[in-house]
């Protein structure tokens, strides 16, 4: 499809203010008469709160109020399951270090800080549950006594075909045990915001949220207010990666403003972000894969245990999504999967780029790499042989909808990295000489796929509004797009403006995208699930078409009107219905749409120290339709960066529920020096007929193949499989020692 504005590297709408430093993030706002709030956090990973004494803090001059559980109308909340307390009161339990006891509100930040130390809390410690595998045992202490007699709160079963027969037919069976790490989002902008009562009496919060409308849905009942008496404004977001799907400051600020009726500012320091906010789920996985000599997959069997930490957060949908892709983009006729979500007293785990599919990409791609090795088959060829195509039957018995681009994506990346193909036979390139006597080179490939939009029967929808200002001749002079779609940095404002410009036949500069403010823009759902291009894009394109029709009517009727406004609510189910897992067989139609990625890593392992250096990296992504190539390259590189950290350096370490990596100094986000010198981003466009202009989501997919590509390349170089990662130098070294 030829397009005019789509496919152009227009400057991002917010780029100029961001390079000037004039873009204001929530911590950059101040209001007249504002107070400052600090949270009193739990000091124990598991304990009863016996007594809370706020009197000394309240007596400190400058302290306006110490807010406790008694001040909260409805204290139970949670993004999906209401298993958390806004504030833990006397008699309540704390279940991790991110539980809150009280909030001090004071005239200055200094006083708030001081007062925070004066709140005295007496605890009665309880046994700490720190390993989800132990937590599943019947004798394990319960993290949530009130929620049944087990720490397991979700068990997903998939039984497809005859898995025993499948294994019987296999010539080769690969069996592994994987442990994926706890990982922190490390969005660079610490959570912050201001709560106040606006001119119309609404409890208002300025913050960096991923899903302001859903925050409101949680805040309103908490304060016992109708939802339209709450409001959230999202001026700019300094990264999110799923980490801001749950509320961190929003509900606390709303509560503060509601209680003291003055503006209240709260800014987390990095320590609070590190210790008191959610992480990526670690998985503990037993995985068996069976295949015939020719590489055809016959069966998979696995058990996945997901550490949910102290609260459910989005663990259930994360596990549901991850499980649905546990066999990857491959046709597997027979399967048995059991996935468990388990409470512990570890840090709460939640959405993070990939939403469970990052963990599954690691396990299925490691299995494929091992299988290729066991069969002595080229890893690209093995994958090609089993890869999804349009209409393939997936793990949950569903048919893959049109637009499956993984074959193209894998092919492009393999060719770019130097693979040769001859009549279906693939061969790996020569890797060249290593850079030193102790260096070993290796290269490997990995694929990934993920759903776009919410799944399993959720009514995923987005509403987008369009306003046209017409000049006297009826031409469109200016356009405003109204959408609650938050821009976490990936460029939502920009691609929405590009799509509107394309759909309306105007220039990009004529389109403005309004700031997200729940009082002014419609609900477009969360900025997550790689859904914005697809779902908000679909709503927007339709709203634009309706606006054009209205404009034509006005011109025809010669009413002289110069303003047109439309709004379109788009439902994912208008593409096709999705459903929850069948409770016994797991069969379902899980998702609306998909996005794909494939990557190749060339690494060098130091055989003496175990250090891995990534020399070159190729990343291909199928975006359906490239809206803004430079932004896609940015998503690609950023996704790979997060994957490199996942593969090699990042690990959030806890002991008995107490984090040991409490500073950025101990949590190793890759620096520029850790990134491969050569990076190639390849964009593939296999249109998705359900997407606007054929576009698919991309934000998360780019991170999926990285860790398995890098870690499989380590095997290619050093001959060791690192099944528990990150593949630190020491882990690789021990594996090499064990092999000797």
């Amino acid at each position: 499809m030829s397009t005019r504005v789509l496919g152009q590297n227009v400057p991002k709408k917010d780029a100029a203010t961001k390079v000037r430093g004039s873009r204001r993030f929530p911590q950059d706002f101040d209001m007249k008469g504002q107070l400052h709030a600090k949270v009193i956090w739990s000091e124990h990973p598991h304990a009863h709160v016996v007594k809370i004494d706020t009197s000394r803090a309240e007596a400190l001059p400058g302290v306006v109020k110490v807010i406790t559980a008694e001040d909260v109308s409805v204290n139970e909340y949670g993004i999906i399951i209401q298993d958390q307390h806004v504030l833990a009161g006397e008699g309540d339990r704390v279940r991790w270090l991110g539980d809150r006891i009280a909030i001090v509100v004071a005239e200055s930040e200094k006083v708030a800080r001081e007062a925070r130390r004066l709140v005295e809390v007496e605890y009665d410690p309880l046994p700490v549950v720190s390993d989800p595998r132990e937590a599943m045992k019947p004798e394990a202490p319960l993290v949530h006594e009130e929620r049944g007699d087990s720490n397991v709160f979700r068990h997903i079963k998939i039984q497809k075909g005859d898995w025993e027969k499948g294994f019987a037919e296999a010539d080769v069976v690969v069996e592994s045990y994987y442990v994926t790490p706890y990982v922190e989002h490390v969005y660079m902008q610490p959570d912050a915001g201001i709560g106040y009562i606006d001119d119309e009496g609404r409890v208002t919060v300025i913050s960096s949220a991923q899903w302001p409308d859903h925050d409101q849905r949680q805040i309103a009942p908490m304060l016992d207010l109708p939802q339209d008496q709450t409001r959230e404004i999202v001026p700019a977001i300094g990264g999110a990666f799923g980490g801001r799907e749950d509320m961190h400051v929003q509900h606390l600020l709303a509560l503060c403003a509601y209680c003291v009726r003055r503006p209240v500012k709260m800014v987390f320091d990095r320590n609070e972000v590190m210790i008191r906010t959610g992480k990526r789920h670690p998985w503990y996985v037993k995985y068996r894969t069976g295949a015939r000599k020719d590489g055809t997959l016959t069966a998979v069997e696995m058990e996945i245990i997901s550490d949910s930490g102290a609260y459910a957060s989005t663990t259930v949908p994360v596990l549901e999504a991850g499980t649905s892709f546990a066999a990857g983009p491959y046709v597997v006729p027979n399967a048995k999967v059991d996935s468990y979500a388990v409470y512990t007293n570890n840090a709460v785990t939640m959405a993070m780029r990939g939403f469970g599919t990052t963990q599954s990409a690691f396990i299925y791609e490691m299995q494929m790499s091992k299988l290729a090795d066991a069969l002595d088959m080229d890893p690209v060829e093995l994958r090609m042989k089993n890869l999804f195509q349009d209409g393939s039957i997936g793990l949950t018995g569903h048919e893959m909808p049109q637009g499956v681009g993984i074959g193209e994506t894998l092919k492009e990346v393999a060719l770019a990295a130097g693979w040769k193909e001859e009549r279906g036979r693939w061969s790996k390139p020569d890797l060249g000489a290593a850079s030193g006597p102790h260096k070993r080179r290796g290269m490997a490939v990995a694929c990934g796929l993920k759903n776009v939009g919410y799944s399993f029967g959720s009514d995923d929808k987005a509403t987008v509004g369009v306003q046209l200002a017409l000049d006297e001749s009826g031409e469109i002079a200016r356009v405003t797009v109204l959408s609650g779609a938050c821009d976490v940095g990936m460029g939502a404002q920009t691609f929405l403006a590009q799509m509107a410009a394309e759909a309306l036949g105007v220039s990009y500069d004529q389109v403005r995208v309004a700031m997200v403010d729940t009082a002014k823009v419609p609900d477009s759902g969360s900025c997550s699930a790689s859904r914005l291009v697809w779902i908000s894009g679909n709503a927007l394109v339709r709203a634009c078409q309706e606006a054009l029709e209205r404009r034509d009517q006005i011109l025809l009727a010669e009413t002289g009107e110069t303003f047109v406004e439309t709004e379109h609510e788009f439902h994912g189910r208008s593409v096709h219905e999705t459903h929850p897992y069948d409770p016994e067989t797991g069969m379902t139609v899980p998702h609306f749409a998909y996005g794909y990625a494939a990557q190749v890593a060339l690494v060098e392992v130091d055989a003496e120290t175990g250090e891995t250096e990534i020399l070159k990296f190729w990343a291909a992504q199928d975006v359906g339709k490239s809206v803004n190539p430079a932004m896609i390259d940015g998503q690609s590189a950023g996704g790979v960066h997060m994957g490199v950290g996942y593969a090699l350096t990042e690990e959030y370490i806890q002991q008995e529920g107490v984090p040991k990596t409490r500073h950025l100094a101990d949590y190793y986000v890759p620096t520029v020096m850790d990134m491969p010198l050569e990076f190639t981003s390849i964009t593939v466009e296999v249109p998705d007929p359900s997407g606007p202009y054929g576009a698919k989501g991309i934000g998360e997919m780019t991170t999926l193949p990285t860790a398995p590509a890098v870690i499989s390349a380590i095997h290619d170089a050093a001959g060791v499989w690192i099944d528990q990662f990150p593949a630190t130098a020491e882990r690789v070294w021990w594996a090499m020692q064990a092999k000797k």
Binding site: N9, P11, K12, D14, A15, A16, T17, K18, V19, R20, G21, S22, R23, R24, F25, Q27, D28, H185, V186, Y187, M188, Q189, P190, A236, I237, G238, G239, A240, F241, D269, R270, V488, G489, M490, G491, N628, A630, M631, D633, G634, S636, A637, G638, G639, V640, H641, M642, H663, L664, A665, V669, T671, V672, M673, M675, L677, F679
Partner: protein, 160 residues
Amino acid sequence: MPTLEMILNGKEVSVEVEPGDLLAHVLREKLGLIGTKISCGEGECGSCTVLVDGFTVTSCIYPAMKAHGREVTTIEGLAKGSQLHPIQQAFVDVTAPQCGYCIPGMVMSAKALLDENPHPTQEEIRMGISGNICRCTGYYQIVEAIELAAQRMAEEGGAP
């Protein structure tokens, strides 16, 4: 309270500070220069990078009084009115910023680098921003932007 006197973005400024104030807080809270970002507050990420006498420092751990009598440049000191500094313009042109939170610090590191070394190699650019963490971009477009800026500044021939 001691008075901190400095040349800030080319203008003489004097401001009352506490002896223990850190430069980032003085800039942000006392002088309203919110372009200097605080992310880790511990000298570990470079978001708060500003220049003191042309050298990059992490202002979140830099005692404000150390800037007394010095020349301090923040991100706000780069553009001339509506005209972006060539480094800023290059960041826009190659779509380097994503969330943008690390970007002021990156631009300041790039500025110090190009002032000192107008024709850096890619490796030197990487070294130059090795004290700045970005969680969004993977750094490639940032390196590209700095290369582009260096090239444009050399073509214009003028001093940055």
